[in-house]
């Protein structure tokens, strides 16, 4: 059965688009057929992060409005043949998305792919609501800081009440993906630690992605980080998260600061 997954957060700029690309690619690298769908109408990004911006002809709005067939709008990834992108429109606004149209398109995508991954826009407005509407699974992307955690709490409340699944009285599966985690700053108490975030949000942890230059590099070369730096710490976190999504049980490792010999000898006093 196809699964619809929404990558959402409430707060902007926390790593939704990065995570959509990385999780989508990781699931595809493990053999599943995957489509990533950009719901950020008007501010599309996913095409850039996937390196497909020059190949966009038709987009989600064209398909929703019936001006193009799904097959015409889907862009197959050049590196992974079982990974596709349905881009957003950069010129239209969110009002062009209709609930009926979105439902139909998601239904068609479910027939073609194992995973339909929806990259939500920030906020709690119409675009974000439509992105989560038909989800079976939600990945709540959160940075270890209070404003992001509170916005995630708010989004979790909406996942539990405003999605089609919730309205049918079913439970939507929710996972926390902690991103841009900086072990050094967490150790110095400059960021919330993992336990604090988990206690506040009380949903299961899908993974912890460290703050990493590889992510920046990846988006600049138009590649999911799991393809551009597959052995780096960020990619490994995304690979593990993808496996957990697919049902494997893998322990979550909290990233630690790599310490030099001297600082290891003297522990926390050297700094």
């Amino acid at each position: 059965m196809a699964k619809v997954l929404v990558v959402t957060s409430g707060k902007g700029g926390v790593g939704k688009t990065t995570s959509t690309a990385a999780l989508g690619a990781a699931l595809a690298q493990n053999g599943a057929s995957v489509v990533v769908v950009d719901f950020d109408v008007g501010l599309r990004n996913l095409d850039l992060v996937m390196g497909a911006e020059r190949r966009v002809v038709y987009d989600l709005i064209n398909v929703v409005q019936g001006d193009a067939k799904l097959a015409q709008a889907l862009i197959r990834d050049k590196r992974l043949e079982n990974l596709s992108l349905l881009p957003a429109s950069q010129t239209r606004d969110k009002d062009a998305l209709t609930p009926e149209g979105v439902e139909r398109v998601i239904g068609e995508l479910k027939e073609k792919f194992d995973w339909v991954i929806c990259d939500s826009p920030a906020g709690i407005e119409k675009g974000a609501m439509l992105a989560m509407r038909h989800a079976d699974v939600a990945v709540v992307v959160t940075n270890p800081e209070v404003s992001s955690v509170r916005d995630s709490d708010r989004i979790i409340g909406m996942l539990d009440s405003k999605t089609a699944k919730a309205e049918r009285g079913e439970r939507i599966e929710k996972h926390l993906l902690l991103t841009r985690y900086d072990p050094g700053r967490a150790a110095r108490g400059e960021m919330l630690n993992v336990d604090d975030v988990l206690e506040i949000l009380s949903i299961p942890l899908l993974g912890i992605v460290p703050e990493s230059d590889e992510v920046l590099k990846a988006s600049n070369v138009g590649s999911p980080v799991t393809l551009s730096s597959p052995t780096g710490a960020a990619a490994r976190a995304y690979f593990d998260a993808a496996k957990r999504l697919a049902g494997e049980k893998i322990e979550v490792v909290v990233p630690m600061e790599r310490k030099g010999f001297i600082s290891r000898l003297f522990g926390r006093r050297v700094a």
Binding site: I124, V146, R150, D151, D153, R154, I156, G157, M158, D160, S161, K162, A166, E199, I200, S202
Partner: protein
Amino acid sequence: MALVLAPEAPLPNWLAALDAQMARAPTFFDGRPVLADLGALPVGTPDVAGFLSGLEERGIRIIGTEGAHPSWQGVERWGRPFPAAGKPGRPIAIPENVPKGGPPKPESPTMHSAPVEPGSLLIDQPIRSGQSVVFEKGDVTVMGSIGSGAEVMAGGSIHVYGAIRGRAIAGLAGNPKARIFCRKLQAELLAIDGVYQTADDMPGTLIGRAVQAWLEGEQMKMAALD
């Protein structure tokens, strides 16, 4: 002591939120004296007097205003501005982020959870930021936490088997015997029968602990439970 209403711009949205709140708790105001704190309104706000009339049309009894700008016409009619109160008044929570075009639908788990017995409401999941639970008829028990930016209002007591990080407002319909209990106090605001304390007023030694709060006269008391 009076309730304090602190309207925010834009006023039509704020009124819509108020209407939604009143629809959920129809007897909330029931002839109680209300003080309008206008301090948050921009100087250029049009027709503040008309807005105050609108409150009266809703059956809200305005006994005074606070923070009115001298340039606003006709506000004097609502009583002389109060001096800054020595004691906190009675706060009223208005739901945030009201969508345009009408009162918000409550984002469950609001009223549909089955009561364990008449006069009590049991909620067996966390109350998330932005959610508002109003239960006038009696006690509310939450099997989880009240998130930052979430609120629970009960006619009776509030029992939280988790942390209070948002607001808990007990004794809503004028019940000074109501109490608030929680496993972990990290609240933004606690109120009983209109007497409130914000996080800044709470004793630092109680933050993070299991606590109960009750009223002695017009004063809120708190003590650790463990």
